[in-house]
């Protein structure tokens, strides 16, 4: 009897400990990066271009490139992703037709495809086959393909959480299917769709492997002026400075600054998404 009790309490201690290890690792990572990076970040650091062969100066072109990339990715992925989600949630999504099964299968496979494989697709399809070259366009098309599964899955969930009574009311008033979707369902799913897009974009902003193959430049003196230009991007900038620059140790502070900037950008977006979700849940309850 006593042995049983001892065994159980040891097991519980082990469980608490492993949770502590995980949480500790997480907290440690954030503290380490904040401490190392916060001293570097300043207004000039964020708004000036790199100087002296990238060993000093700021990271503005990289920030600008990442913002352009996110904007273009959103432009490509949002309409298609939301339309796709509308189909799954409102049209024949509930049916078990062959097409439906195939679509679901494709979406679940795509969610697991490694990002470097998306990079290969972007390189062969957009850069070489369609002759977009190494450019903002190729990279953002690749990133939008990569974020589509995320946007579709999350938007579909948002649409499905709209109560059926809204749909029934619209149909009872004589709305066609599309009118029902457009005026009775979509408006109430907008917060959820925005959340999903923010999350997908924050993922896309941090992706490095796909843009490595499709157009990110190590050093590009001027800002991109058209979508066919090469560009600098924050994640690639970090990678390049840390592994390929002439003196990776000397530029360490710049690297920590860039890392903290990227994390603040990405996690800031995540937090906004979480806040929207919490507010929406509260509204749904209240």
């Amino acid at each position: 009897m006593r042995f049983r009790r001892v065994k159980s309490s040891i097991a519980l201690v082990v469980i608490r400990l492993s949770a502590l290890i995980m949480v500790g690792a997480g907290v440690l990572i954030f503290i380490y990066l904040t401490v190392k990076g916060s001293g570097v970040i300043s207004w000039p650091f964020l708004t000036e271009p790199p100087r002296q062969g990238m060993t000093s100066g700021g990271i503005f072109p990289a920030i600008f490139g990442t913002l352009c990339l996110m904007l273009l990715t959103l432009t490509f992925a949002l309409p298609v992703g939301v339309a796709s989600a509308i189909y799954f949630a409102e049209y024949t999504g509930r049916g078990r037709s062959h097409l439906n099964i195939l679509m679901r299968y494709a979406t679940s496979i795509l969610a697991g495809v490694p990002s470097i494989v998306y990079g290969l697709l972007g390189l062969s399809l957009f850069v070489l086959y369609m002759r977009f070259g190494f450019s903002l366009l190729s990279a953002s098309l690749t990133l939008s393909i990569l974020s589509l599964p995320v946007i579709i899955a999350a938007s579909e969930e948002a649409l499905r959480s709209v109560p059926d009574s809204y749909r029934e009311a619209a149909v009872a008033l004589g709305a066609t299917k599309w009118q029902m979707v457009r005026y009775a369902v979509l408006p109430y799913a907008v917060p959820g769709i925005i959340t999903s897009c923010i999350l997908a974009l924050s993922r896309a902003a941090g992706e490095t492997a796909p843009i490595l193959l499709t157009g990110a430049a190590y050093y590009h003196p001027r800002l991109p002026t058209s979508i066919f230009d090469q560009f600098m991007a924050l994640p690639f900038h970090i990678f390049a400075l840390a592994t390929q620059s002439v003196d990776p140790v000397k530029t360490r502070p710049i690297q920590f600054g860039a890392v903290l900037t990227l994390i603040m950008l990405v996690l800031g977006m995540n937090m906004v998404a979480i806040l929207i979700r919490i507010r929406q849940r509260r509204m749904a309850q209240g």
Binding site: S18, M103, G112, I116, G119, S124, I152, P235, F239
Partner: protein, 298 residues
């Protein structure tokens, strides 16, 4: 008040419907494009490299006068790093999931869950950077290995990276075990740990396995973190303290210096094909697992 809306004509209505259907087909189209372009660019490699040499060749050496394209060292690197990451991460993650759903005080749960979500949001290049600058020194000090960047370093950083995925999916599975199961176990005198280990965990097992599968899939496909952490030396070894190179890393590193259309270029796409194949296999296994358990359990 808004004006009364006119009913769209039937043609407009069906046009919209087809447009939406077209968009919904995009995932199938993307998957097809991936398959088509990977085969188109990957298959020509085998016109120059015999398939057997590609798969069973023990040397990956592309700069030599007579380049060798054997992917065993790369496969080995991927397996070593992924295996190490899974060994470290899965037990910890599952226990952490049990803690969150069964043991934790609600207040602690409110703190831990967002933290794990935030960890999942950190870009892989940042994890790679951490492995390169901080973790590498730690692993070297503790193991005394000659290579500063080695497979263990990559495995450890991957373990941290995949933990959020494994934790949150396992936690969902554990949480969805009906309350009655727990109550029944308590009623016959089981304590908290016995209830967890003999009743709740077995009931949640299929879901936890799916979480593990997704973790494996993420670990194999991860590029930037392992690229920066493992030292990038295509050595055929099972020594976890040696530098290795993974399949994903070799594509990312070498694609930058390759001549488009060369054998090397096609060989890198062939590696991409293998990665895609692995994705299909893992997805298939996960679905089969889910289907089998769904058939058995109530």
């Amino acid at each position: 008040m808004r004006a009364i809306r006119r009913r769209p004509t039937r043609t407009v209505e069906s046009m919209i419907e087809y447009l939406i259907l077209g968009c919904a087909c995009i995932s199938i189209m993307i998957l097809l494009l991936i398959i088509i372009f990977l085969f188109k660019e990957g298959l020509p490699a085998f016109a120059h490299i015999p398939l057997s040499e590609f798969i069973f060749g023990t040397v990956w050496q592309v700069q030599a006068v007579e380049p060798r394209y054997g992917i065993l060292p790369l496969l080995c690197g991927s397996i070593l790093v992924t295996g190490g990451a899974i060994t470290v991460s899965v037990p910890l993650s599952i226990m952490c999931a049990l803690y969150i759903s069964e043991v934790a005080h609600p207040l602690a749960r409110e703190v831990i869950k967002p933290l794990i979500e935030l960890l999942a949001g950190i870009p892989s290049v940042v994890y790679g950077f951490l492995a390169l600058t901080a973790l590498a020194d730690l692993t070297q000090r503790f193991t005394g290995s000659i290579h500063r960047l080695n497979a263990l370093n990559g495995a450890l950083i991957l373990a941290v990276m995949i933990a959020p995925t494994v934790i949150s999916i396992s936690e969902d599975a554990i949480k969805s075990v009906p309350k009655e199961y727990r109550e029944a176990a308590y009623a016959i005198g089981a304590d908290k740990w016995e209830t967890m280990s003999r009743v709740v965990f077995p009931a949640a097992f299929p879901g936890v396995m799916v979480a593990v599968m997704l973790g494996i899939s993420r670990a194999i496909g991860e590029t930037m973190a392992v690229l920066m952490a493992t030292g990038n030396a295509p050595l055929l070894t099972f020594d976890i303290l040696s530098s290795v190179q993974t399949m994903t890393a070799v594509i990312a590193i070498e694609m930058g210096e390759v001549t488009f259309g060369s054998v090397h270029y096609h060989a890198l796409f062939a590696i991409g094909l293998i990665l895609l194949g692995i994705t299909f296999i893992i997805n298939f296994l996960a679905e089969a697992l889910l289907r089998r358990f769904r058939g058995v359990s109530p």
